[in-house]
Symmetry: D2
Subunit: 363 residues, 4 copies
């Protein structure tokens, strides 16, 4: 119950600090006979890895995943699938100044309060590096979902106050292409340009900025999600809120929906026609009703706060509670959302894979 | 794993449908020697019960909790504390028209898709009646937290587009008094008046409206929350998103925070003075850093969609997929937020009680 | 994690003390569309209830189960199935003498050490009365397993030093008839006679005696059980060891098998013939290999210590640690095994139902 | 729920096959500030490793554990402690003959039935090699328990039909010395001699033999164990039964106790004298009453079947169900108990560490 596991039947447990030997993950509950494509896993990791562009941290780590178990002749065997990602670019001395000081809006103070002991190098376990293990595991979940025809697509829908317009989401493959053609990972080219400009300027100020990621899950069968506490959107929400720097989650109509009337908000069912599944005229429900998927696109949005490490002087305190001054060193992201798209998709894949198996059990 | 349990160490399991014999809850993990004040539990339930005012459903149920086990001579014994709330006002015939029809934006279609069988009376397990069990359990959690000095305060901060101004939250007891002095449960009297007017007018239209609840947890010790997946705000988020009709959750700076710069958003630590705990000058972190409480007020906000049952005709489909028409019968809430304040507080209490015990284990 | 739940996907949570309002159970994870036959559930409870014959306790309780939720028109709905059994014959004054004294080999001292508070009436939560909730839940599991053709049969194979000979277990229905035709529930009529005589004589001495129950699970499909910690026999073992008074568990060849050679102990596979499943010539494996069922009969044996409450004077200590004397009052069983057969079968049914669902999830 | 995790608060998850890159374990929930002595961990592994003496398998693997995370400057940090043990001596070709054949009383047939796919090299996940990960994790648990003064001692009490006499267990340190002075790990030197002779002779026949391990847990505080399903002995039983080849578990009086009378079996409390904890005159309860430790020595016994791989020809079947013949190749143990002592102790340590934390949470 120490909180390093996620999921019930497709269950992952992650380990590792920023500056230890390696980080990694065990997937317990990957069904047998899933084709495990290591190149695909690596490609997913590459979307999260540091040093990909001028608007991400300049740290260089190859983030190469190795599979230690659970795969035989290219297929999952049903036994635990363990992966490790060795840590490489460990300039531990970059962090010596953190030993006795609490960085503002970081986890230094709270880890000390919780454990009384703290691996201060690079944030230790609170480092966003931990999310690489999630991306590797999420890639395996995606390989499983692919067999079921389920697609997951996320993109940067806001950077600071710059919002992308609502997407025409008919063709996710095409949107993915557009998204990957720009370094901010926004599927609207015009907005992408503005976002990059903003982040560039913020970076030059030694400052950081927040943003939002929107996500669509397509072809999810109706019936996933448990009715009371483990509602599908509650598990998606927890998954997203567990990602470093996330401060908000909404699905379907979200916060805006709270300002609407029932007569506007209700999603009217369309009478079925030959062989087609039931659909609704609108999708304010975000594909989930009563906590259970209804077969429509599942849509949600995730808000990220600005990165706490800034290249400016800040007042703070040391371990004795005395006033101190701190200035960010090292190499940090001016805005996390371009790299976080891969994490959001990975967590979404893990939730859906888990609920697919949970629903299988009772059918 | 069928999703009717919540929490790890302070763990509840709920049961019951809208129109069965009773609903209820087992609390497994209430520590021994907590004073169990049945009157307090009942007072909490009364804040959620139907029929309290003209802006709630006119259904009448006394929602009387009975304790079946786990209490001896007024104290918890450490063994499972079971409570039941008998169902009373069951006009099952009000729901006969739902047997073969799927109400828009309800859980009828998805339950049918999930289980292939459905207790259609009053929404069955998807009925918000289930939340009474949460309120009863949450009241026990509050009794436990009271011993630790922890306070929880929620109120209606928005109804539709009417927003209460930010509260001066120095004195939660006083705010509670104001909140309970008006039927919409908003701690700002002026806004409360406008909200009641809006809901009255919506009700007369046979329509419904959404809203938001804001919540503060005070005196939570630093160190609660687990670092990776079970971050304190991730568990709070899941708790809130599991409440019927919730479409969004944010904590601290929330969605707005995603538009801020790091230099504005970072919460600067105040040098300690004699005997006082560490505090921060601002609280955009909402009392949680790296997923772990830092001793400041924990603040979050929850968005509720409008109630799906409206007293207007709507197009829909029947079980065979044919077009049909439906008009809400029965007695329903024009806006859920006044009654939902008790549910939000209860779920918050359950999360904090659980994480308190989890932290105790490792100290 | 307070230990009142059992199972993962077919999961039960029990509550209740000997002398509270009621005991009961929530089954979370009963699949939808199982026919819930209340008469069958009651018949199972009747096999465990007190007062059935001269060799059981003379306490009289009807142990009548009521279903509160999860069943609609005679079928399970997939939502939590809650049952309560009201407590009736509560002569609490019979237990006043236990308030300040620790009975030898009871749980009085350890509950006090654990909780610092204790409902001393009738053993409180440590009372074997709690097992009635298991039998009710196990009966539901049996109804589910019946749909899959799986049979479970237990009987008293030893009382004290009197052992029944090995059964010819070709026809479980016939053995069940024999078992139910005698009050000790042994499927060998001659041994049954001797056992009854022994228990009668022990009872007259104001003493008690232990015994053993043997159990067969038939038609369990191959493939159930998880390979490492949740081996099928490990979960059966935990289930049995969790029953009051159980001191030992063995499956297949058990303790005797540890004295055998590999060349004697290996179960040789029989070449398949038309349409028949694979079988083995012997079954020292007890139907389980590598923790996973192989389709053969699953066989195990459970050892019960003698009941601790005897009608003789015994030295003991009081809460202050002073010497004291105690003599059992009330009405107690001279030997638990005749009533425990129903409990052993119920726990076996719960384990198999759970593992069936777990295997379904990954298929 | 795929069964590769054990424990609730001190929780381990293991991974790895006999012939993959590595096996390993994540400990999630090791409290912070435990001194992690890698030499001690290695010494524990050395007691389990193959090739230690002429009566174990002649396979040579150094079984060297590496710590990947969760330790900083020699202390646990409270975050996941991951260890891997690379696989070395992989003569995969030794197992090519197993590809299409089911070895008698192995897990080949059942894994195939369960997963439809199987890593046949060296038994894959069903290999006892998996237990090395348990021993490494158990060593960490022992380091934690050592801080609390809790000792765990196991030894081989039977090999085949040769039983060691009951030990005088006053001084566990001395018994440990005796145990480690002979290759069969029996704390009675005379019995040890006979056992070694027996195993030698069995090995020469190309056969194998079973055995038993007895274990004592000393200085466990009263109050550990949860009252209903997670009784301390139920969790110990499950832990032991999850070890490869175990067919039986008993604690305290065990199977023999079922033949005793209550008047003989009850453990009479001794009136307390100055400052000493409560004790009992006898210990048929094996240190556990009502599922909760009472402060006396916890005692239990574990029965292992003979190793299934024998160096003799046996009839069996292939994947198509045709008759086949098989003869063990490779290097195997004639008797597992000498190497299994370390595993039994490790699993015991994991159970006690977990229940210590569980009890801490509610105090």
């Amino acid at each position: 119950m120490a909180g390093n596991s996620f999921g019930q039947l497709f269950r992952i447990t992650t380990f590792g600090e920023s500056h230890g030997a390696a980080i990694g993950v065990i997937i317990d509950g990957c069904p047998p006979d899933v084709s495990i494509d290591l190149e695909f896993i690596q490609a997913e990791l590459d979307k999260r890895k540091p040093g990909q562009s001028r608007i991400t941290t300049q740290r260089k780590e190859s983030d190469t995943a190795q599979i230690l178990s659970g795969v035989f002749e290219g297929k999952s065997t049903g036994t635990p699938l363990a992966m490790i990602i060795p840590n490489e670019d460990q300039r531990s001395k970059d962090y010596d100044h953190n030993k006795d000081i609490f960085r503002p809006s970081h986890a230094d103070y709270t880890y000390e309060a919780k454990y009384g002991i703290r691996d201060y190098r690079g944030g230790g376990r609170s480092s966003a590096r931990e999310t690489a293990a999630r991306v590797a595991a999420g890639a395996v979940a995606k390989l499983f979902l692919k067999q079921k025809g389920i697609e997951i697509f996320g993109h940067v829908s806001s950077a600071g106050t710059i919002d992308a317009p609502d997407l025409n989401a008919t063709d996710l493959t095409k949107l993915l292409e557009i998204r990957e053609s720009n370094i901010v990972r926004c599927a609207d080219p015009a907005a992408a340009g503005e976002m990059i400009e903003l982040i560039d300027s913020i970076r030059k100020q030694g400052d950081t900025i927040g943003g939002k990621i929107s996500c669509i899950i397509r072809n999810c069968p109706a019936g996933l999600g448990e009715p009371v506490f483990d509602k599908l959107h509650a598990d998606l929400g927890k998954a997203m809120l567990s990602i470093n720097a996330v401060h908000g989650f909404e699905y379907g109509s979200g916060f805006t929906g709270s300002e609407m009337k029932g007569s506007e908000h209700n999603d009217i069912f369309k009478p079925a026609d030959a062989g087609n599944p039931v659909t609704t005229l609108t999708n304010f429900s975000g594909g989930i009703q009563g906590g259970i998927s209804n077969g429509m696109d599942i849509t949600f949005r995730v808000a990220f706060k600005p990165v706490a490490t800034i290249m400016q002087s800040q007042q703070t305190i040391d371990k004795e509670g005395n006033a101190a001054e701190i200035k960010g060193k090292g190499r940090h992201d001016p805005c996390v959302v371009p790299r976080a798209v891969a994490i959001v998709e990975a967590m979404a894949a893990l939730v859906i894979a888990d609920h697919l198996l949970r629903q299988e059990a009772y059918k």
